[in-house]
């Protein structure tokens, strides 16, 4: 089932196939020295079990902050100011910190991008991998350790029994990322968020990690939210995509359809800037300008300053995410024009 807007989800409720994760109207404000700015503005999407949704966008578009708000790991300067995050039928934003901790691992899990700093440098990795079992299953040290070793084997770490005693700095980048993924899927969560899981890795290793993620997803029927700026990764790995710009979702829908015929000028600009569409000797097209500062987001459309279609209406009126076809939505006043372009 494709990612859909809030209105649509309500319109076609299918209890038999409840979404594993449903985010609605999520807002995150950043309290900075210069004042409060909105970093995530009414973001919504749904992911079902076994499916992958890609959150696509440039650095600073709010995609990582969306993920951290979902798992409740925002930095103290950031605050969730609205919306709901429904996992397994419960709005986790309304839960007490203690109840939320109970979901962290067995239900909702996250993989961070830089595996060297994400693993504790002074603990053997076996102990770190055993921790979910100790915390949530109350296993003994020894039993949790056995589980950790099994887990290491399942993500392809050679000689897991010996390696469990090693420290993070004694592993390669790819192996560290495997360990981090293993830790995140240890308790077979319903929803896995992966925040740029391959950014720090070599291209060949990236492919291995993406394959590992796919295998684990198939095995455990994980609902995966893949946070990335890499269009190729989205095309290969995701079922649905939500394109983010300046804290807003500007377009969402099945990857194949969105990439074949984008209905938002920003998505269009991103796709045009991929080298394979360009001819040799020609200047690579790029989206002109840069995203607005969070403190200076315009009143109208967030993309107006860089948009080739921008006109008067875009300055005064913020377009809302509206259906533009089966399971697709875009936040553009003129998405119809793109359909025929």
């Amino acid at each position: 089932m494709p990612a859909s807007t809030e209105t649509e989800t309500r319109a076609e409720e299918r209890p038999a196939d409840d979404p594993a994760l449903e985010v609605r109207g999520l807002c995150v404000d950043l309290h900075t020295a210069a004042g409060t700015v909105r970093a995530v503005d009414h973001v919504g999407f749904t992911v079902r079990r076994g499916r992958t949704l890609a959150l696509l966008g440039e650095s600073g578009c709010g995609k990582s902050m969306t993920a951290q708000a979902i798992v409740g790991l925002l930095d103290p300067v950031a605050e969730v100011t609205g919306g709901s995050v429904t996992v397994a039928g419960t709005d986790v934003l309304r839960l007490s910190p203690g109840k939320r901790r109970k979901l962290a691992g067995p239900v909702l899990s996250i993989v961070f991008q830089d595996a060297l700093t994400a693993l504790n440098p002074v603990q053997p990795v076996g102990r770190q991998l055993a921790e979910p079992f100790r915390i949530h299953r109350g296993l003994s040290r020894r039993a949790a350790r056995e589980k950790a070793i099994e887990l290491m084997a399942s993500v392809g770490i050679p000689e897991p029994r010996q390696r469990a005693r090693s420290y993070p700095h004694q592993f390669s980048g790819g192996m560290r990322q495997r360990l981090l993924i293993a830790m995140a899927v240890a308790l077979e969560p319903d929803v896995l968020l992966a925040d740029e899981p391959t950014t720090a890795l070599d291209v060949t290793v990236q492919a291995q990690i993406m394959r590992l993620l796919r295998d684990l997803q198939t095995e455990h029927r994980l609902a995966v939210v893949l946070i990335t700026h890499d269009l190729a990764v989205v095309a290969q790995r995701a079922d649905d995509v939500a394109v983010m710009y300046a804290g807003n979702v500007v377009e969402t829908g099945p990857v194949r359809e969105v990439f074949a015929a984008p209905r938002h000028p920003y998505t269009r600009g991103l796709l045009d800037s991929v080298p394979e569409h360009a001819r040799r000797g020609e200047r690579l097209p790029a989206v002109p300008g840069s995203p607005p500062e969070l403190s200076a987001i315009p009143a109208g459309c967030v993309f107006q300053a860089r948009c080739p279609l921008a006109r008067e209406r875009c300055v005064t009126e913020r377009p809302v995410l509206a259906p533009v076809g089966a399971g697709r939505s875009a936040a553009c006043h003129f998405s119809e024009e793109l359909a025929h372009a």
Binding site: V71, L73, T117, P121, V122, I135, Y167, H169, M183
Partner: protein, 309 residues
Amino acid sequence: MTVFLRNRIASSAIPLLFVVLGVFCLARLAGDPVDLYLPLSATEEQRAEFSAAHGFDQSIPAQLWDYLGQVVRLDFGESLRTGQSAGEMVLTAFPATLQLAAVTMVIAVLAAILVGSVAAYRPNSAVDRFSSLLAMTAASIPDFWFAIVGVLIFGVSLEWLPTSGVIGGPEIWVLPIATLLIRPFGVLVQVVRGSMVAALSAPYVKVARSKGASERRVVFGHALRNATTPVLTVAGDLTIGLVNGAVVVETIFGWPGIGKLMIDSILQRDFAVLQAAVLLTAVTIFALNIVVDVAHALIDARVRQPVQA
């Protein structure tokens, strides 16, 4: 680990030799060592006799050889005041200082970890600002002033605690330890706070929370161990300060440690004892540094093992 320890000890052998040589030079740079060892009132005959008895009439290399032999045997000559072996006197006084320093540092480190961690948990909160103020004050109070005021209030006015001496129950420890404690505690709280703030904002802390770890587990299980490196280094340094500089506290409270022994030896020109005390303190500092390094290696695998790909 054994290899690490062996290398660490081997690498401090040469600096230690320099200290031993330094002490030898100390006795001779200042002029005729006989002047240092004997009181001003000594007659010519006494001086010549002393010089011959201790080999000061021999060539410098010969003297150095004898001196090294003495150091190896821990024979530093006799005290002018008591006639006792200087080495023995120093070794007798040393445990009193070590006890004081050890108890003080254990309390200081534990208290600083607690206060510093609580402060770092919510930076810029009221608790944090109060503990920073407390730490700053503690680190700035002169120890002699604190000792004298302490004696005045608790010893003289309230008569709760003895003013000096080592005879009695546990109450004799209170004022000397409180005096020694105050500065290391203040300094360590600031160090713990600083490194805990850094550790708590590290990505692995976020990952620990994403596993559903309790806040206690996050702070003490994950962050604290990473924050210990600077704390250990500073604590080691402060311990050296305590061993070396217990002079004020030991003098004020009449604590029979090495600090008091050194002051007495200086005042009474008991050079043999002073020389032995300086050498022993130097060796202790080297040993402490090794202990700190070993502790680093035990806590952080990156210190004891080379990086593997």
